[in-house]
Structure formats: structure tokens, C-alpha cells
Amino acid sequence: MPRWGLVIDLDRCTGCQACVVACKHENNVPLSTPAAAAAGRLMTWIQLVSVEGPARGRPGAMPLMCQQCDRPPCVDVCPTGATYLNPEGIVGQIYARCIGCRYCTNACPYAVKVFNWSTPAWPESMVPMANPDVSLRPKGIVEKCTFCHHRLIAARERARAAGRELADGDYVPACAQTCPADAMVFGDLDDPHSEAAALARSPRAFRWMEELGTRPKVIYLREGE
């Protein structure tokens, strides 16, 4: 069984935010206004944050999404099991079970889970463009990056139809597919021959806040000198 992970090469990242736009469209994430964002109501599964310090050579932007921890603090604290770690290492969110207590959002050191403060709405022209593979979330629940779980389900069905095991390269999330600089490489971290696993072994590789013991499966590659 693959263990999905995403490697982000900060040396290649141009900060163009194509991944942010792709994610919004792919996952039916509502749009936000600057005023809403200022009030802490930004809806996003991936965003560029500015990071300074030893994690990077120099200050700059870093794409931040759910780090898909192998030891996720959010999963521990959820009172209903609405957020859970699936066997392939993806931290899932069961929208229909979430009671909206926001304990997981507070336990997450990366602050990457977002809450539906109101019923999501889109401009009328965008409504027909919603992705039919991804459920729309009601107000009052928590959501986050799922590594495009719906794509995984489709890939699993294709593999099953072809009579083979799911393997590296069977699917990529929308952000990695879109990245024009090829800074994002998605794949099976347990497959020693996968590109993602090879990059994860790079001396430039680091996991953000790994000192907390969360064991993220999003791996960043430090910028070169």
C-alpha cells in the first residue's frame, strides 16, 4: 500500500500561487475577500506563508497546506473521530460527522485546518464550475487539504479495473499537477524507486516543525545557496 507524500522544492517555487488557485477550483473551496481574510475568515486549503529563519536560506514564501502528519495532533483530539489517519497516510475529514468544536484546528501546530464560519457561497457564474467529485461543505464544520482524496479514489478504481495494485504515479493532487515550475513532486514515500522518495532523501530535505514529532509527509527542499 502506498504512503503518499508531497515534496516541495523551494528552490524551484516562484511563489506564483498557481497551486493555490488550482486547489480552490479542484476542491470547491469558497472564495474570500481581503476583508474576510483580515478577520481570520480566509478559506483556503493551501496558502503561501512567509517563513524566516534556519528552515530556509533567506526569507521567502512557502506553500503551506495540511502536512499529512503520520502522528497528527488533530486526529488525537477529535471527540468524534471525524478526522482520522487513513491506511495510506492521508489525514481525512468526515464532513458528515464533524460537530464543529474546532478542537482539531487548535491542536494543529501548522494552523492549516479551516472552519466554515458561514454557508459557503460563490459568484453565480462560478456555480456551474463546481467540481462534481468533491462534496460542498455546510457551515459549521472543519475542512482541510485531503491530498485530493477524490482523485485517489478514482485512481484506486482504475487500478482495480486494470487488476493491479495502486502504485506511485497513479495520481497527483491538483497543486502538484498545476505547478508550472515543477516544484511539487507527489508520490509513494515507501517506494524506494519513486521520485518523491528519492527527493525526500535529499540533504536539502526538511520537514517543517519536525521537532514536534508530528512526522509530516509534506517534505520541503531547502533553497540552495
Binding site: A37, A38, A39, G40, R41, L42, Q47, V49, S50, V51, E52, L64, P73, D76, V77, C78, P79, T80, G81, A82, R97, C98, I99, G100, C101, R102, Y103, T105, N106, A107, P109, Y110, A111, V112, V114, F115, N116, W117, S118, T119, P138, K139, G140, I141, V142, M209, L212
Partner: protein, 467 residues
């Protein structure tokens, strides 16, 4: 064995003074004055407004609050911790005083126990107000995930609610029987049901006192567990200034502290409103004032230890929260908390001359405000200074949150008032048995090393003065 258990049941039959006391204490139960009506209307109006605010929040979603990312918790969770803290007023304090045979506890235990039971509903209620999907609240029972400290909370609080309700109800039974024999109509039916056939037979007394004695012991570990677990909701996360090993005892101390303050506040008001000056005497306020003084010092010790360790370590993430509290955005709240929780009550209570009824009242109001601020400065600053470098904002509670908070306090007052119109707020039979147990006035007070010596207060002093 409880002190009352030592008393022969026969003594209790019909002491002449007991009927006087009963009449005096039952009068406010059975009559409703115009002041009561006015307050009921005013408080009900506040509750109705809060109901409207909640309906608004239900239609708008939690967007109606001032919360956002990363300050996901605010006033509701602050109130949750505050109310659960206040709930330690009754049961724990009355149980401890009962076990150490502090005779002066007799007129105040019920007043305290009612606070516990009522305020627990508002503690739990505030979590429900905070839910994005309150309609799914029962998912915690259908799909429980016991690794979550919230589940520990739910278990602990429901056990506490059950135990403290029982602990309130058991000592009520003889008084309910008293009311049953003096009322007609719906009240009589209600009291007859609740009195469950109480006749005052000696074996009934024996069983009752055994049950009360057992409950007094059982509720103590439960009460301690409740606030420990509430603190673990925060401490089990790895967030800066939440992830602390002393949070359990720190919260329990804070809870007992705010609990005693709540009792004193309630005592002063009830005493004034129902004219209970004969029963609630300066000695009660003095003794509770000393307890509050001890808790003030303990609270300061814990707060100091917690903040010194954080500051000395200079760990950047922790320090950002620490600085936000002592000199940043939250400094006014933090230093107000220190003033209200320590400076003001310590100055008043350490001086026997100011440890009067008025003095303890001012100190207890100060502690109530200070402990609310303490809960606020634990919940919000940590969330406002997250590890991740995301945009943060200044959390300002919305009108909905303030309205619901006002509604909770108003509803609590309303229910407390309602209780005083259904049941005597002072345990009549406990005063009687104190009178019976009292030594003759010529006798010396309680032996200096006896169990009753804790309060340095002669047995049955109240009852003597009553005669």
C-alpha cells in the same frame, strides 16, 4: 461518620426552637414578593434577548461571532472553563467542610451545592453554544473517540453532575418532607413525590446520614477530576503556554478559588434579600474569607511558577505568548487579572479588620472578575500567537457572544432564585441537629485538636444565639 450521625434521632422530633427556625426559613420559600417579580421579569428579558442572539447565530453560523483563524475559541470556551470552575463552589467545599466536621458550614452548604448543580449546566451549555453543528452534538456518544480529552470531559462532567445533584438532593429530603406537611395543591404533590416517603423515622435518619457521608467522600475525587480534565483539554495539545504539566492542579486551585468567591457572593446577596442575618453571621464570612485568602496565595504561587518557567526558558514560541500577555496586546487583561485575583483580595482578606461581610463581598466580586480574566488570558493569547506564520487578527467578541454570556449569567440567577422559591436555601434540619449537638453554653468550645477545631469555632454557636 458525620457529626449529625452521632445525634440521637429522638432529639430531633420537635424541639420548640426548630419550628421557629423552620417558619423563618420556610417563609421566603412560600411567598413571592414584588422585588422577586421585578427581578424575574428583568432577568427573563435578558435571557430572551440571549435566545434571540442564539437564533441569530444558528442562522448565520459561527460567523456571527468575532472568532476566526487562528483564534478559534473565545468567549464561549472562556465561559465554559469559568463556569466549570465556579461549580467547584458547592459540592467540593461543602463536602470537605462536612468531612472535617466544620460545624459552621451548616447554614451555607446548600447555598453552595445549588451553585454547583446549576452552574454545571451553563458550563456544558457554553460548549454547545460554541459548536458549529450543535445538531450533531450527540455524535460524541454515537462515535466516541476516547483519545480526545473532550471525551474525558464529557465523562467526568456527567459523573460530576450526577453525583452533585444527588449530593444536593439527599440533604434536601427532610426539608422537603417539612414542606410537604405544610403545603397544599401542586406544591404538596411535588413535595410528596420528592420526599419519597420520608417520615423522620430513626432508621431513615441513619440511612440518610450514611448516604450523605458517603457522597461527601465520593464527590471530592470526582470534583478534582473535573477541573483537571478541563485543563487537559488545553494541556494535551502542544500549543505554547497550554502544554503545561501544572495545568491540572493549577486549574483545580483556580476552580476552588473562584468557587469560594461565588459562594461568598451568593451568601451576601441571599442574606440581604431574605433577611438571613441570624443564620449567616460575620463568622461565616470570616472563615470563608480565610479560605479565600489561602486560595489567593495558592493561585499566586501557581501563576508565578507557571510564568517564571516560561520566561526563564526563553523558548521563542512560548515567549511570544508570554510577551503578548505581560507587555503586549493582552497586558491590560493580564495585569487586571493579577490585581483582581491577588492584589485586591489579598489586601482585604489578610487584614482581620477588613475581613468583614462587606470586605469579603468586595474581595469575592474581585476574584470572580479576576478568574474570568484568567480563563480568558489562558484561552485567547495562545491562539492569537500560533507557531505557524499565518495572518492573525485581534479577536473582539461580537454582540452575539456578549449577549449569550449575559444570558448565561441571567439564566443562572433566575434558576437560583427559582430554587429559593421551591426549597429552603438553608438546610433547616442541619441547623436543628447542630442545636441538638451543641454543648451547653457553660461548656468550653470544641477541643483544640478535635475534628471540629478546624474552624476554631464552638459547636452550635449559631443555635445558641438563635434561642
Amino acid at each position: 461518620m458525620t457529626p449529625a450521625a452521632a445525634v440521637d434521632g429522638d432529639h430531633r422530633r420537635a424541639p420548640a426552637h426548630a419550628t421557629d427556625a423552620a417558619d423563618a426559613l420556610l417563609a421566603p420559600v412560600l411567598t413571592v414578593g414584588s422585588g422577586f417579580r421585578r427581578w424575574t421579569v428583568a432577568l427573563a428579558a435578558v435571557v430572551a434577548w440571549a435566545a434571540f442572539a442564539y437564533a441569530w447565530q444558528l442562522t448565520q453560523g459561527l460567523g456571527a461571532t468575532g472568532l476566526g483563524r487562528p483564534v478559534y475559541w473565545g468567549l464561549y470556551i472562556t465561559n465554559f472553563v469559568f463556569f466549570i470552575g465556579v461549580s467547584h463552589a458547592g459540592t467540593l467545599i461543602s463536602a470537605i467542610l462536612r468531612i472535617v466536621h466544620a460545624e459552621w458550614r451548616r447554614p451555607i452548604t446548600r447555598m453552595a451545592e445549588v451553585i454547583t448543580v446549576l452552574v454545571l449546566f451553563f458550563g456544558v451549555g457554553n460548549v454547545l453554544l460554541d459548536l458549529g453543528r450543535p445538531d450533531r452534538a450527540l455524535n460524541v456518544l454515537w462515535h466516541p473517540h476516547f483519545a480526545s480529552p473532550l471525551l474525558w470531559d464529557i465523562s467526568s462532567i456527567s459523573i460530576y453532575l450526577t453525583a452533585s445533584s444527588l449530593y444536593l438532593y439527599l440533604p434536601l429530603i427532610p426539608d422537603i418532607a417539612l414542606l410537604r406537611d405544610r403545603t397544599t395543591g401542586w406544591r404538596h404533590v411535588l413535595y410528596r413525590r420528592l420526599a419519597i416517603g420520608w417520615t423522620g423515622a430513626p432508621d431513615q435518619w441513619r440511612r440518610l446520614e450514611r448516604a450523605i457521608g458517603a457522597m461527601a467522600i465520593i464527590v471530592i475525587p470526582i470534583a478534582v477530576s473535573v477541573h483537571t480534565v478541563v485543563s487537559w483539554v488545553f494541556a494535551m495539545t502542544i500549543q505554547p503556554m497550554w502544554h503545561s504539566t501544572i495545568f491540572g492542579p493549577y486549574f483545580v486551585v483556580g476552580a476552588i478559588f473562584s468557587g469560594i468567591a461565588a459562594i461568598i457572593t451568593a451568601m451576601v446577596i441571599v442574606r440581604k434579600v431574605y433577611g438571613l442575618e441570624r443564620y449567616l453571621q460575620p463568622i461565616h464570612f470570616n472563615n470563608l474569607g480565610i479560605l479565600l485568602l489561602v486560595m489567593t496565595c495558592l493561585w499566586f504561587y501557581f501563576t508565578f511558577a507557571e510564568h517564571l518557567t516560561t520566561w526563564y526558558g526563553q523558548e521563542p514560541i512560548e515567549l511570544s505568548v508570554f510577551m503578548a500577555k505581560v507587555s503586549g496586546r493582552f497586558a491590560p487583561f493580564f495585569w487586571a487579572m493579577v490585581a483582581f485575583c491577588f492584589v485586591i483580595p489579598f489586601a482585604i482578606l489578610a487584614n482581620p479588620r477588613t475581613r468583614t461581610i462587606a470586605g469579603t463581598f468586595v474581595a469575592s466580586i474581585s476574584v470572580n472578575i479576576g478568574m474570568w480574566l484568567e480563563r480568558f488570558t489562558i484561552v485567547v493569547p495562545s491562539l492569537s500567537n500560533p507557531r505557524a506564520p499565518i495572518h492573525t487578527f485581534v479577536y473582539v467578541p461580537s454582540w452575539v457572544e456578549w449577549s449569550l454570556m449575559a444570558g448565561c449569567f441571567a439564566a443562572f440567577a433566575l434558576l437560583y432564585m427559582g430554587f429559593t422559591k421551591l426549597f429552603p436555601i438553608i438546610a433547616i434540619w442541619e441547623l436543628d441537629s447542630a442545636a441538638d449537638a451543641a454543648p451547653e453554653p457553660a461548656h468550653p468550645p470544641a477541643p483544640p485538636f478535635g475534628p471540629g477545631a478546624g474552624g476554631a469555632f464552638p459547636h452550635g454557636r449559631l443555635a445558641r444565639e438563635e434561642r
